[in-house]
Symmetry: C2
């Protein structure tokens, strides 16, 4: 299955999710979701807005923010913890972590090796009901390290 097919599958999934939750399937929703889903760069709202504007020149900033929030509620995308000024979004729902470059703000996906398992600290359960666990690694990415030595 190629990436275009995967994307189409995801869009079908989104349509189902909308219907199941009494939400309408609008071209804006599709386009906005597409932009997040096809990117591996964990785009922010502004980036999504600029990209969508090429196909839908009248789309409004508000729609992008509102839609990203509803896609999140549908569990079709999620926000990446990042300590950066702008929220970043990810449509890859497979469990994975992030490497965040503190210099260029790039966010890289870290997939665990088959023998690794996302660990929940033993004590965590004593604080309440866990919804999700999130691991970020902050550092300087190879690209920036290379540029820095020049």
């Amino acid at each position: 299955m190629n990436s275009e097919q995967l994307l189409n599958n995801k869009i079908e999934e989104l349509k189902e999710a909308c219907k199941k939750n009494g939400m309408r399937v609008t071209p804006q929703r599709i386009e906005i979701f597409k932009e997040v889903a096809k990117s591996c760069k964990h785009p922010d709202a502004e980036t999504v807005y600029e990209a969508v504007k090429h196909k839908m020149p009248n789309v409004s900033v508000d729609t992008v923010y509102r839609t990203l929030a509803s896609l999140e509620e549908l569990n079709m995308i999620f926000r990446v913890d990042n300590l950066l000024p702008k929220a970043r979004f990810d449509a890859d729902l497979r469990p994975h972590n992030h490497f965040i470059c503190v210099q260029c703000n790039e966010v890289y996906d870290i997939f665990l090796e088959p023998d690794e398992k996302k660990q929940i600290p033993k004590n965590a359960h004593s604080f309440g009901e866990i919804k999700d666990i999130n691991i970020q690694i902050r550092g300087i990415c190879n690209k920036c390290l290379k540029n820095n030595t020049k």
Copy 2:
């Protein structure tokens, strides 16, 4: 050693750090640091500002933000990844994780059991130079769970 002594030690440490880095020791810096260091609530800038204002009525918002940023550069405090609209600060430098309640926004410290170790995913090193690793657990805290059932 009681908590007051611990706090005093930390303040001495801050003074040293300032001197070593050519930064002046100002009463504002001391007070702002104290507020973060004595709290276990991971306060935001506004909370720190309100608290400091009791002792220094003329302190400005800007000074609080600027000082929190320089304390961070001195590695005396750090920001908690939190996906909340306001930055939260922590002066406890011992390695630990956080439980973040998505309902009341309370941030709880999770200390690892002696036999646990903060694990860095194997792949992480391939992305660049790691500065720090951060684990957050999001969920609903016991307090909120209790309130919700009422």
